[in-house]
């Protein structure tokens, strides 16, 4: 009898897609007992040496198999002081609803020679892989474990991944295990403490769970910080000098090099000195080629930021849609930090796949007929996944509205990456008027190139400038004082928030969208829609509770040396950096868990001692100002 190999993917759809490619389309499907989504697909496959021809069972889990929780006696909200949750014993158990899936794996593993892990290739996937392995080993301790490395479900790629398996990355799995334990302990301790203490403050909070999460709170902190900046803002008047020249029937507006100043007397004095000089002198006439660079290859953070800006979808929706497109085999894995294409990828072949499209098929053809350019390389490489790109063409009628939008964006972005920069001619005139410098710029777009397919970028010719000679003197037609006022920054938008989270190490590209969704769900922030159509803006505004929590925690640590408020990103960033150390193998899981717990325990003790600050803040916003 042929050797049997068990393959386990992270989701049923991936299992089906991989099984389809490996079997060439002919496989038998078996339902499993107790779960309607997970199926076992059976077929033959030749893995090449050393496995050869084997009978394969391809199945899947649905995300994590196990969960971590406290022992029973610590589960009740009033069972123990919240602070003891930093040390209370925890145990890892298969989630109740995942029991049939775990059992299926144990059953299938029993007669298998080897287990191939097909979970997504990222940190989380590595951990899920380790959970699958643990189940398999309980029924068959001698089973050999391998890991398929893949970043999309395109056929050739899948077959190659099946034949060249690697080892499971224990470091990454451990980093996730550490993160899970920290999130549980820190989250539960603070959530219980603040919920129990604050429920009594106001009627509104009586039945409410006021959850804490080490990513949620800094995320909330960014929203509150911006909100307060907007609220506290004080407009100020500034003055500038406006200069206009009429020549060749055109009005040329020159911009003041100082832009504007906050001192009226000084600006008037300067204008007077300009007027006294009567004539302005052209000090520089510069004509140079200008280009607008094509975009970098697409990362997850960029997809979320650009997506919410151009497609008007929130980041969580975008990620869900991208996930679906990936699972169906239309785009590559959508969780990646890489913004450079590996030289081994045949980009032209990917471009050719877009020929059938009636929106950009013609453009793709032109690229292959000579306009193709090797994409720019960014500076990030997560060494796991390529930038997000389309792996096959899909007829738009097969997609729903949101899928269409996201697929279109990913594809246009990819084609733009493979195009030439937009080219133009820039003119820069600089003049000296009295002692003040002014300048005027002109732009003529000569070749649109990537802009033709990447409709999201704008670069347009300006009004054409009349001719100027260097050193010529002229008398400006008009010179005036202009007056303006500073304006408050806008409330935080989702793309901005993602940018802040990314820059400050809050969450991973995979989890940012969830954290934002969480603070909305907890009613710490609400989304305020303003404007309509293309100018529609969705702003994040904190609720009274959201502001109260941030102010409360800031007050808790106010004046304490070296104590950091939970509303700031610093503690979480520390923790995130330590995860990377586990991945690099320079720290163990235990070390990191202990260090990070110590860090948060200190803040916890301060919070407990100064809980009155937190209560006062809640009373202020929820009772007095309600």
């Amino acid at each position: 009898m042929a050797r049997k190999i068990l393959c386990v993917a992270e989701k049923p759809a991936i299992a089906r897609a991989v099984a389809t490619h490996m079997s060439g389309g002919s496989f038998q499907t078996h339902a499993i007992r107790g779960n309607q989504y997970v199926k076992n697909y059976e077929f033959e496959f030749n893995f090449g040496a050393p496995w050869g021809n084997c009978s394969v069972t391809m199945t899947s889990v649905i995300g994590h198999l196990t969960g971590l929780d406290f022992e029973r006696q610590y589960k009740g909200w009033l069972s123990c002081p919240p602070g003891s949750l930093f040390e209370a014993p925890v145990k890892e158990e298969v989630d109740k609803d995942k029991l049939p899936i775990a059992e299926n794996i144990r059953n299938q593993a029993r007669y298998s020679k080897a287990l191939f892990i097909w979970t997504d290739c990222d940190r989380e996937g590595e951990h899920i892989g380790s959970e699958v392995r643990n189940q398999a080993k309980t029924s068959n301790s001698r089973i050999e474990v391998r890991r398929a490395r893949f970043s999309n479900t395109e056929r050739a790629h899948v077959l190659q991944a099946a034949r060249e398996p690697v080892e499971l990355d224990e470091f990454q799995a451990n980093a996730v295990a550490a993160r899970i334990e920290l999130d549980l302990r820190i989250g539960a301790a603070f959530t219980r403490l603040q919920t129990l203490q604050l429920q009594a403050v106001s009627e509104i909070l009586k039945e409410k769970v006021i959850s804490y999460g080490s990513c949620q709170f800094p995320t909330l902190g960014f929203v509150v910080d911006r909100y307060l900046r907007v609220q506290n803002f004080k407009p100020e008047t500034f003055w500038g000098i406006k200069l206009m020249l009429q020549r060749e029937g055109k009005k040329v507006n020159f911009l003041w090099k100082r832009v504007h100043l906050f001192d009226r007397a000084a600006v008037i004095m300067m204008l007077e000195r300009c007027l006294l000089a009567k004539k302005a002198k052209v000090t520089k006439v510069n004509q140079k080629p200008k280009s607008k660079w094509r975009p970098l290859p697409l990362t997850t953070v960029d997809l979320q930021m650009m997506g919410s800006r151009f497609l008007r979808l929130d980041s969580q929706t975008i990620m869900k849609v991208a996930e679906t497109l990936y699972t169906k085999g239309f785009i590559s894995y959508p969780r990646t930090e890489t913004d450079q294409f590996d030289k081994a990828i045949d980009l032209k072949k990917l471009v050719e796949k877009q020929y059938p499209d009636n929106r950009w098929g013609q453009y793709a053809r032109e690229l292959i007929d000579g306009k193709f350019r090797t994409p720019r390389s960014g500076s990030h490489n997560d060494k796991a996944h390529p930038p997000i790109h389309p792996v096959s063409w899909v007829n738009p009628s097969q997609l729903n509205e949101n899928e269409k939008k996201v697929y279109e964006f990913v594809t246009r972005r990819f084609l733009a990456c493979c195009s030439d920069d937009a080219k133009g001619k820039g003119t820069e005139i600089e003049i000296l008027y009295g002692e003040e410098m002014f300048h005027a710029n002109g732009l003529i777009v000569l070749e649109k190139n990537y802009l033709e397919v990447y409709v999201y970028d704008k670069w347009e010719s300006s009004q054409q400038l009349p001719n100027f000679e260097k050193d010529e003197m002229f008398e400006p037609t008009e010179a005036n004082i202009s007056e303006g006022k500073t304006t408050a920054p806008g409330y935080l938008t989702e793309p901005e928030l993602i940018g802040l989270m990314d820059a400050n190490g809050i969450g991973t590209d995979a989890t940012m969208a969830e954290h934002i969704a969480k603070i909305k769900e907890r009613e710490y922030v609400v989304v305020n829609k303003r404007g309509s159509g293309r100018s529609k803006i969705e702003e994040l505004i904190p609720t009274r509770l959201g502001i109260a929590l941030v102010e409360g925690y800031d007050n808790v640590v106010a004046g304490l040396p070296n104590s950091i408020s939970l509303s700031k990103p610093f503690l979480r960033k520390e923790m995130e950096l330590r995860m990377l150390e586990i991945c690099a193998g320079s720290k163990t899981r235990q070390e990191v868990v202990q260090q990070s717990l110590d860090m948060y325990r200190e803040v916890f003790i301060h919070t407990q001692r100064r809980i009155a600050m937190l209560k006062t803040a809640c009373r202020k916003y929820l009772v007095e100002q309600a």
């Binding site: 007397a265 007077e272 500073t486 070296n562």
Partner: protein, 264 residues
């Protein structure tokens, strides 16, 4: 030992500062014996350092060419020139290229121990370091990413209030950037020498050609100025909300607007 005449001549030649005999004599009698036995050049150096830390009204002698005209702030005078050299000291400095409110925000970031690097919020107080000085605003400058305690990015240009040895004050405006004139680097009481400077509508126009920065500070003025900077900014912002215009420096500027209005 160097005589007071030698020292005075040396300082006058190198720095264009006419140090008063009285002040120099006091300096020499109060310096200790170890200092008095120093070579002339070292003693002159000490004296110069003290002059720069002094109040010019006490340490310099005045002559008609070394002081500002008493009506220098007169806004009706379109333009005049001061030959100099005129030594002056700085009584106030403001960044007028930046709004008051953003300066307040920057100061508050420093108070919280944060700095902004692009989109990233950076913590400027090293963690786990039991540095007592961490909350008094010092001991932060060892981090290169940290802005100075003034919290300003220092774009400028700057508006100064300067005072000569006779006590005459006026506004000076940094027309071209001068190395060392910034909220971070310039202390209150710092000394400048003006040569052949243009004065327009009561404002001295500073540029590297006509203003030589000698440095120094007056401690008794500098410390309270720095301590109260945020308070002053906030006060000015609240008056702005009422008045709606910046007219704090020259109270007698109304004539100034009137003369200029004919231009516009």
């Amino acid at each position: 030992m160097a005589s007071s005449e030698q020292i005075a001549a040396q300082i006058l030649n190198t720095k264009s500062l006419a140090v008063s005999q009285n002040w120099l004599n006091t300096f020499l009698t109060t310096s200790n014996s170890a200092q008095r036995n120093l070579p002339a050049s070292a003693l002159t150096k000490t004296a110069l350092f003290r002059v720069l830390a002094s109040d010019f009204r006490e340490s310099l002698s005045t002559s008609p060419s070394s002081i500002l005209p008493v009506d220098i702030f007169d806004p009706t005078v379109q333009e005049r020139r001061i030959q100099g050299p005129v030594p002056v000291q700085v009584l106030d400095i403001e960044d007028i290229g930046t709004s008051l409110w953003s300066q307040v925000e920057a100061i508050e970031r420093v108070e919280r121990g944060e700095a902004i690097r692009g989109r990233e919020v950076v913590r400027t107080i090293p963690m786990g370091d039991d540095n007592e000085g961490a909350d008094n605003g010092n001991g932060r400058t060892n981090n290169p990413a940290a802005p100075n305690a003034s919290g300003s990015s220092g774009y400028g240009p700057h508006r100064l209030i300067i005072q000569d040895a006779a006590g005459t004050k006026t506004v000076a405006f940094e027309m071209k950037s001068i190395e060392g004139i910034s909220l971070e680097k310039l202390s209150i009481g710092a000394k400048l020498v003006l040569r052949n400077a243009t004065v327009a509508r009561g404002m001295v126009l500073l540029n590297p050609g006509c203003a030589t920065l000698l440095g120094g500070k007056i401690d008794a003025l500098d410390r309270p100025w720095k301590q109260d900077r945020k308070k002053r900014l906030l006060e000015r912002i609240s008056t702005l909300q009422v008045v709606g215009a910046v007219q704090l420096c020259l109270a007698n500027n109304n004539a100034h607007w009137a003369t200029l209005n004919c231009y516009f």
